[in-house]
Subunit: 342 residues, 4 copies
């Protein structure tokens, strides 16, 4: 059973691991597709991010889907051969936050492919994965690639939910990588009346325009276009900040109307913010982190054709060329979501 | 200038009235399309409803759109020849509820075609209407028929907004007349993951299925189908009650999960409700009445292709045959929305 | 070990039961005080209420406090001799509602002294009770009588929480029994600016006036006083309905302002409601049922002197005279909360 | 008629101005008490703050109360001799934010004693003030000093309201000047179960302890005490940040539990914030700016004895010694709220 293991920055290896067997309540899955995420890239390019660093080899990957090959005892509602999207989120179920149903804040979370804590939580870029049945969303009718989009889609659905009712709202999305694009899809599906998207890359802005943005602005080339939204204390009800860059957030703040909500998805360390301006306009800056039940919602939305993630999968590479996938994925001018076929 | 005047139950006349001229801030509009609403039908069939009764002749109609023929002084942002949807809602702007921005609860509301108060508020089924510029939503790109759907659509957007965030929610709609259908469109657009619709007519249920309902149930013929949603204290997060019939509401209550929200749109006088069951499940019954800014939101959503009301317009009759339109509109087995072409 | 057992309407017996021993995670408690609740009275006076009927003898009681006499293995944070208030709410922790942290809607709830389901859930009016440590709120500094008020207080805190932010709000409370009075205390503590209370008994209204109501109205004698709040579509932001009587609810509806919230605490079977008026004013009728974490909040609030329940305990009778307590408790003209000293 | 005029930093003069007469809808008021606010101090000590600078002489003051000396035509509900608290907030009533009832964000706000815009908005530190009747809250039963506390109290009530329901919540207040203290009073009245307050001055912390804080921490001397609240991702539900100092905010962030709310009242320019940590814990940073209807709520709460601001008025100086008041007010080790008697 082959797996994709990161040993250190730029040291990515395809290694054999023992094929795991399912226990009670678990299923064995032949992984079919795995999407490369920004955090995977951070491990590959830099060996980690912020205080989170690799200390031992770790299987990467947390955006995966595959077909069930074996059912453990007591598993119902799933069957062999069935395509499932696998949620990488494994809260403990018994800490104080789990008991409050705030599962994404679990004190003992074991999220796939995560160098925090130590020993690291091994990931899901592997030919065979054993998962709890409860992690599996039946994905009948989807392609494995679409099913593997459930994870980043869930991140965006969680953020959209955190922003409250979007019906008729005016929305700004800063950053048009996969998270920005999926946020555009989710916001459009949630009733946003107007969506303006910004980025520094014409490639990603072009994709934003094709996937639901009403207006796109290259803030590197034409920052004055965003400034047109600043009149009378601003225009947008909600900003989905998907860059983690202070400059993007600050620009958005000027364009938000009083009482506006900033959903912060991008993770970017410390930022210097115009807190006085934010206070005077009574803005709300809300963090959004991972997801929980939105994973299953996302799969259902895709199955019903309510959200279409297919156009975002720009490249699929075979397992043997996984490293090529990591290179492609690092190039924001050529790729949106790169997936690996196992 | 011809207008459609109700004198008493079943006494509908097409009468000449003087052509009005716009004053400062107003526009003159050649009405092109007018939709017949349930309240118009109540006046036509019964001379009123509940305590609200006709006491003098009244021009009917409040779902209208037309082309601007003249601009009063000081009007900007509109131009002659432009198609506009005209909001029938005219709050005073200065009572205590208007000052709280709760305009639909205005103490001095002058809503078109309303027998409350006295003298009645004359309606908009007329060839020429003068309205405040602020009532007019530019409807470029829409047909007059679609533009005239802005009013009932606004009613439903207001209800959807009142239900809070619908993303991923399970929704039940009882009653598949125009309000039920537009609610389905609005709920789908707002991210509902599952929509089940009930009615007694296969014609309207068929239209519900074509316009976004995942499942339709004829509760006259197969009430047991709704009962399948009652297990484990119920299934739905939100019920949009569009019938005003106690039985429909009571059935929905059994199928709602704990904490579920009932948006009551149907107006049906007193109702006997299972309040103890509602209390034990901690349900929320919320009234939804008319709309305000949702009128403009609805036009924008139609213009952007986010909500498509066209399939709901099943018949259009010429002004001379207006009464035929009222008959058609009363037959729930043959029509959804009937409009009059002026 | 003596316990208070209801066999049928008016057939209340004090019976010996075996003294229970605590297992792992449990504590043994010498019950000191137990308050008689409306549901206890229903079993005593009528053998049940609505569809819930006694089918076998049942120990009554769910408002209790006492001193710990023994700790089971593994219990930390509690000690022998300590006064604790004991929550009667025992959700399963694993059904779908528990996993959503909606514990009061648990599908397998075992609430003390409850004839639903069968076999009945035996109650806590007993000299020795064994409870899970997690049910126990340390009540140091309180009297046993106060600590036994934690349960009905929790019911009211849950309702106040369900009403949302009360700061500066105008509140109507219909029904001034113990639940009405505790709601007044909780609403006052939560920042209500104005509290008007209604009842049919001058005794309970007098207690309401002494415990935080700004105005009291005997709606039997002077119903016109409530009508003064009906001008301009009504006055109150929130109605806490504590009677379960349709007439009280209907009167409150007239006095609620548009958008007002009705928290329904009283359980009164089916009710005929003016749904049309409720819809037109966009009122919200919300059920409130039991509580969860509010039990612990209530004890803390009493310990800090933020809520004072002592004046509501009007009589305390010894165990041998428990039946006298039930009689007293049934007389709304003489008693508020009657407790039994074990 | 004497008034207190700031000409430049440290250049405060008591000057004669013409006595104004009330027009229709206005009242003339003999100001009795005026509280010195942080922004008054900024003008006095620094000639402004951030980008807001004095460009011409300006009468200071916006926390005032006095007795009505004359009624303009058409004024009802007020009478000569009556004590009123005067709201300094004068929104235009017709801009887009006013029409949304978001009055504190008015595009044309004329808030007393404000150097933005130019010409400056003259303030209310004057022996005779003419105000709109609608600005006046009858303050019968209060002292003029208490009535003059209505303005800073309104700021804090607005922030408490912005934090949502506080019943049973755990609250941290950073900064124990007048705004911090009034926030403690308001949070306690709104049902907060636990209040911890921090500051660098033992004098203000002592006042916090006397006015409702359960625990006080001098973060200059014992920062480790706040760190005890950081276990398991933090302890507090809400942080009221009243310093405008990044260090205070950052410390609070560590002590907030996941999903916690930061109400930012302190105005402190740009701040460098740990946005990644805020995002991972899904915190919400919400600005709170001025107030609107809370001004009237605050007066009512004081009149009913629900909030007691009297102990916060530490010094009152006569008009002739106004500058002494500004010195006293600048010394956080000796004064809380300093007022001027006119």
């Amino acid at each position: 059973m082959k797996s994709i293991v990161i040993h250190a920055a730029k040291d990515l290896r395809i290694e054999e691991r023992e094929t795991p067997e399912p226990r009670e309540g678990q299923v064995q899955i032949a992984i079919a597709a795995g999407g490369i995420c920004g955090s995977d890239l951070h491990y590959y390019n830099h060996g980690g991010f912020g205080p989170i660093r690799l200390k031992e080899p770790m299987i990467l990957g947390h955006e995966v889907a595959g077909h069930i090959t074996k059912l453990g005892d007591g598993v119902t509602g799933l069957h062999e051969g069935q395509l499932v999207a696998v949620s990488p989120s494994r809260p403990c179920g018994s800490c104080k936050y789990c008991r409050e149903a705030r599962y994404n804040q679990c004190l003992n979370m074991r999220f796939y492919g995560s160098a925090m804590p130590f020993p690291h939580i091994q990931g899901a870029f592997r030919q065979v994965l054993v998962a709890e049945a409860a992690q599996c969303a039946p994905a009948d009718g989807l392609t494995p690639g679409e099913a593997a989009m459930a994870e980043p889609l869930a991140v965006c659905l969680h953020a959209v939910k955190g922003a409250g009712d979007l019906m008729g709202k005016r929305v700004l999305v800063t950053g048009c990588g996969p998270i920005g694009l999926l946020t555009i899809l989710a916001a459009r599906r949630s009733g946003a009346a107007e969506i303006v998207a910004t980025d520094l890359s014409d490639f990603t802005l072009g994709m934003a325009a094709k996937n639901g943005a009403d207006v796109t602005i290259n803030v590197g080339e034409a920052p004055e276009q965003l400034a047109t939204y600043e009149a009378d204390k601003g225009h947008f009800d909600v900003l989905f900040e998907c860059t983690g860059v202070a400059q993007a957030l600050a620009g958005g703040i000027q364009a938000l109307r009083p009482g506006g909500v900033i959903m912060q998805l991008g993770l970017g360390g410390d930022m210097t913010l115009p807190v006085q301006a934010m206070t005077a306009k009574e803005l709300q800056l809300r963090g959004s982190f991972r997801f929980h039940e939105e994973f299953f919602t996302g799969v259902e939305m895709m199955q019903k054709g309510l959200i279409n993630t297919k156009p975002l999968i720009t490249q699929t590479v075979p397992l043997a060329e996984a490293e090529t996938g990591f290179h492609l994925s690092s190039d924001r001018g050529k790729s949106m979501k790169v997936q690996i076929a196992f």
